[in-house]
Symmetry: C2
Subunit: 96 residues, 2 copies
Amino acid sequence: MGVSKLDRSEAEQRLAKLDDWEFSRDGDAIKREFKFDDFVAAWGFMSRVAILAEKQDHHPEWSNVYNTVEIELTTHDADGLSERDFTLAGDIDALR
Amino acid sequence: MGVSKLDRSEAEQRLAKLDDWEFSRDGDAIKREFKFDDFVAAWGFMSRVAILAEKQDHHPEWSNVYNTVEIELTTHDADGLSERDFTLAGDIDALR
């Protein structure tokens, strides 16, 4: 299944519609850090993201340290950012 | 609550009893990578680790990329490795 890479101006337009995400990896990924009250709250959020990701068959590269979750999204099949990253990012933002 | 830092020889003895963990951060942490068939399997494992961690009130610094989970353990209150890290690591190994 082909997934096309967004060019920089398309990616910038999509990024502008999201909350607090920024480019990473020279513009080939986007990332955002989320803070919670404690580990259980962070974990609850991660569980919801995990289900979204599995449903969309598009998985984050992410890390957790106690109450902090950092999520980075990129599309390996596109060698950069695709529509899928922005769809998932928007859905993650909507969870909060 | 005081948690004492293990000295290097104690830490080495404890490490030798674990499966496939190695020192990181100049011996102030231990880490291990776990591989699974897919994201759902990795996530199931992480969910079990999350519950262990919360019960032990000792939380990992960890990351996940699709079927891979990397876990790093250290004890901030001890500025290095404590008994808690090796207890949690042993319990994580026992999950597999």
